[in-house]
Symmetry: D2
Subunit: 144 residues, 4 copies
């Protein structure tokens, strides 16, 4: 299973009055991890949106918080694909302090491929191998 590590620095904007990072921001960090994962394995998400008109709409997101990140901490977001089909992809994440590896949070996001109209569609052929999927059969399924 291929994993990728993205690094980011906690912004003051991301803290709240509890003195730690506000919980919704971990989902933003997951996005950072996801985007860098896709790049690292040569899946250009920006181009898929522009050239293919295909987007990944989030169907579910989940985060378990272990230890609070604080302003100016360097955070490592480890990202991998835990499941993929032609219809959806699930990314998994583990967020750790860069300084000592302390686990901050872990989570998953499940995404469905969709067109510009936000209706579900299949993953464009050319991206399938990136996700360990076989190319579509020569004869398309009749139901499509």
């Amino acid at each position: 299973m291929k994993k990728n590590q993205a690094r980011l620095r906690v912004r003051y904007a991301e803290t709240d009055q509890m003195g730690v990072v506000y919980y919704a921001n971990y989902l933003v960090w997951m996005e950072v991890g996801r985007v860098e994962y896709c790049k690292a394995f040569d899946f250009d998400y920006r181009n898929m949106e522009i050239e293919d008109g295909v987007m990944l709409a989030v169907a579910e997101a989940r985060c378990r918080y272990s230890f609070p990140a604080r302003f100016d901490d360097e955070v490592v977001v480890e990202t991998w694909v835990s499941e993929a089909t032609t219809r959806m992809v699930t990314f998994a994440y583990e967020m750790k302090l860069a300084a000592d590896g302390r686990k901050l949070a872990a989570g998953e996001t499940r995404h469905v491929f969709c067109g510009r109209d936000l209706k579900p569609c299949r993953m464009p052929e050319k991206y399938r191998e990136k996700f360990g999927l076989k190319p579509a059969a020569a004869k398309p399924a009749p139901a499509e």
Copy 2:
């Protein structure tokens, strides 16, 4: 089970280039629902932080996305407590379009009571009845 409905209007800031609300913002809306729930049932979260030095740290958050909210939509956040102990509270949420009741998303957040040092603690006595919990016994448990 007591429920509360909070209403909010989708901000332009909350949309992303897909033309819909960015997924992390639903967790911010859950916070809006949670704060208004607490107020509606006379549990003043702001005061608990200031007077009792007790905060609710998020231990887990989860959201399932059904239909995308868009700029200027009016959204209803229905909130209720799905579980409560002296150590933790789980809030559940359903987010719907105010216009036609269409379900946008549903989720849960699980919180643990903690002190200013962010170490777990028990829910202050005076708030227990609000969450349907019995007051603590006269003689405190020795292990505390």
Copy 3:
């Protein structure tokens, strides 16, 4: 000069570790004020984007901070148009605590009309009167 008052409640997400609202969020509140101003005076910004393909791109924003807003404060955002031409509109804002009228911040945002390609354009004819502008002359200027 027509003014409009929008009201909002400070979200926990909007605070930072200084215990007050993070400074960039006042610009989000200006957006809330601006959107409600436009609605109040029957200028439907959402429709202008969808029907006319015309957007207001921000050219400049400025905020002077007087007193810090805190979590759960109710804030009044007073908004008015301080200048308008067929090319641009300047909105001005004053943000106050609803409880006692204490001034929190004041600012301005200057916007230019632009098409979906983000190139500058003129305000659609039908909206001009809303901004106190005369309708265009019958014969359009040759340079357009």
Copy 4:
């Protein structure tokens, strides 16, 4: 005049439905530039908050937008101190595309030193030289 360059990658979360970066996020990037500037010149902001109990409260922020940043763009935030006294510091910023140096935006933020009570105070002695200020005279001014 010392300048520092911070680099960041535009997040999907930072875009809005116009397909470009939402205007308030440039103020977050200014914060990123400011924090890295302070580090580069050995002024540890995090420590000043923790050890000295002194914070920099924003008094004014201003941004002029030239060209829209988009998702995944790499942005350079050039930061310098344009003015400093024992009471306040003004930072200036220029934001450019890393790819071709195209200017995105420019701005300033003016900050006042304040204590944990958010009341104005003087810059702690030990930081003065960092900002090109002379150390305080041996005899403190009587009015203080």
